[in-house]
């Protein structure tokens, strides 16, 4: 049987690294996905991931233990990712450009490029959302988080969280139209 997050948190605070390892294993993929949506490269996303879990470990004492560990961890993940973005923004263009192949590439590569282009377009549009919209959308689409958790992470009511989710989606649609990416 899987132990509840709060039980593992209590055991971690009591000194059990094994308990914390279980928490890390449980959430590492989710934290990675969110970090990747900011960093757009695997190595850096893994770096952010590591920073998130080290920071979460050090701040476990401030976690209220109210059953919302996932939302609490998501707040740290967004915060660390934004910090990373601020200090590394100028390198992102380099990475993107490096993915661009020469015109003489094979047809399969061209298809990959189109897929990448769509993906990159989506990530760019996510970058243009305000932080709350972005956090709401990444929680919903990368984690299938229920509205209750999203509201908890954003410290708002569920009604407001629903509204933020919709506004985020609408802004992404409008951005797609502005940048001519709408299909």
């Amino acid at each position: 049987m899987q132990l509840a997050d709060d039980t593992l948190v209590s055991e971690t605070i009591a000194g059990s690294h094994a308990a914390y390892e279980q928490l890390v294993s449980r959430y590492e993929k989710l934290v990675f996905k969110v970090a990747w949506s900011y960093a757009k490269q695997r190595e850096s996303a893994l770096d952010i991931c590591q920073d998130v879990f080290v920071k979460a470990f050090r701040k476990l004492g401030s976690y209220r233990g109210d059953g919302a560990f996932r939302a609490w961890l998501m707040r740290i993940t967004h915060h660390e990712s934004v910090n990373w973005l601020r200090s590394n923004r100028r390198h992102l263009d380099w990475i993107d450009l490096d993915d661009v192949a020469d015109p003489a590439c094979a047809p399969q590569q061209e298809n990959d490029l189109i897929v990448d282009e769509t993906r990159r377009g989506l990530l760019d549009r996510l970058d243009r959302l305000n932080p709350r919209q972005r956090q709401a959308l990444t929680m919903r689409y990368f984690d299938r988080a229920p509205v209750r958790d999203i509201a908890s992470a954003l410290a708002c009511t569920e009604g407001v969280a629903r509204n933020i989710l919709f506004r985020g989606l609408e802004k992404m649609r409008l951005e797609a139209r502005t940048t001519g990416r709408e299909t």
Binding site: G15, H17, E21, V24, S25, E28, K29, F32, K33, W36, S37, Q41, R42, E43, S44, L46, D47, C49, Q50, F53, V54, F57, R58, W84, N88, H91, W94, I95, L97, D98, A101, D102, A104, C105, V115, T118, R119, L122, L123, L137, R140, Y141, F142, R144, P146, V147, R162, N163, L165, F166, L169, E170, M172, R173, A176, R177, E182, T183
Partner: protein, 312 residues
């Protein structure tokens, strides 16, 4: 038929997976006639597909990341182990009081021996360890000796902390220490991180924090990283850092090699930009570009001509 405002409520319900079957039919009907709402639904689908497209690391990479986490938060684990040893010892003495006297005698004899030994042996704790590290760092002439050094550093990382530098590395044992940016130890750990940092982010940060004065070891480390690092961003940062030393012939050679052989067209373009400003013979540039006949040679040759025209 519903209007867009009502449709938005249905889209939100769809977004959070709480839509009723009847409402879904209504929503789909509306979207067939309304391109804006249809585009909203497509954005929703694209976001769902984005989740599927995230390039998740392999289990091995996650395991390495977990190792990194626990090496950074390891102190409490050691403290716990130590605590349980003393607890066990106390329990043992409680149940075997006769054993206490010989054990105390052994500890005392051991302490006397240790005291004599430490008076005549090098001390690798506290300040003495730092002095030994600094001495080793200062003696080092060349970064290629790094691997042969008995005090070579592993598990290295660096972080700026105000106007000082936080170093983290293993050398016989793990060490966390803060030191000045210009200390020999800082320089040494930075070089090791540039070459062998555990992640792209760490190597990138080390290059950014590396001294601006280019001695041979730094140039060697940057050149190695520019040619060999698997992360394009790190290679580009190394190239940028090397280009700050335009007068060194070894930098010029390294840039020519990148121009000729780097798999990334972007790296080759940047190398070309730096080389053209240095009045390199156009024939040498042309030869370097076409050495390996890679994709992008034509574009690079064209750019070389443009840049040279602009320079002249």
């Amino acid at each position: 038929m519903i209007d867009c405002r009502n449709c938005h409520d249905l889209i939100t319900a769809y977004q959070i997976g709480e839509i009723e079957a009847d409402d879904l039919v209504t929503l789909e009907g509306h979207c067939r006639d309304c391109p804006d709402c249809d585009a909203l639904m497509r954005t929703h689908d694209e976001l769902l597909a984005l989740d599927e497209a995230v390039p998740l690391p392999e289990d091995r990479e996650f395991a390495q990341m977990r190792d990194g986490i626990f090496s950074r938060i390891d102190r409490p684990r050691q403290a716990r182990v130590t605590g349980s040893f003393w607890a066990d010892l106390k329990a043992f003495l409680g149940t075997h009081p006769v054993a206490a006297a010989p054990m105390v005698a052994m500890v005392l004899i051991g302490a006397v021996f240790l005291g004599r030994w430490s008076a005549s042996s090098p001390n690798y704790g506290g300040d003495a360890l730092m002095q030994e590290l600094s001495r080793q760092a200062a003696m080092r002439q060349n970064v290629t000796e790094y691997l042969d050094n008995p005090l070579s550093y592993t598990n290295v990382s660096v972080r700026p902390r105000g106007d000082r530098l936080a170093l983290s590395f293993d050398v016989m044992r793990h060490v966390d220490v803060e030191t000045n940016l210009d200390s020999p130890l800082a320089r040494d750990v930075l070089l090791a991180t540039i070459i062998d940092g555990p992640s792209g982010g760490q190597r990138l940060r080390a290059i950014q924090l590396a001294p601006t004065v280019g001695d041979d070891s730094l140039i060697e480390a940057l050149t190695f990283t520019m040619h060999n690092d698997p992360e394009p961003a790190v290679r580009l940062e190394a190239l940028d850092a090397l280009a700050r030393h335009p007068d060194l012939p070894q930098v010029r050679e390294a840039l020519l090699q990148t121009l000729g052989a780097d798999p990334s067209v972007q790296m080759r373009l940047l190398a070309l930009d730096h080389l053209v400003g240095r009045q390199v013979d156009p024939a040498i540039l042309q030869r370097a570009i076409t050495t390996q006949r890679q994709d992008g040679d034509a574009a690079l040759l064209q750019r070389a001509v443009q840049l040279q025209r602009r320079e002249s």
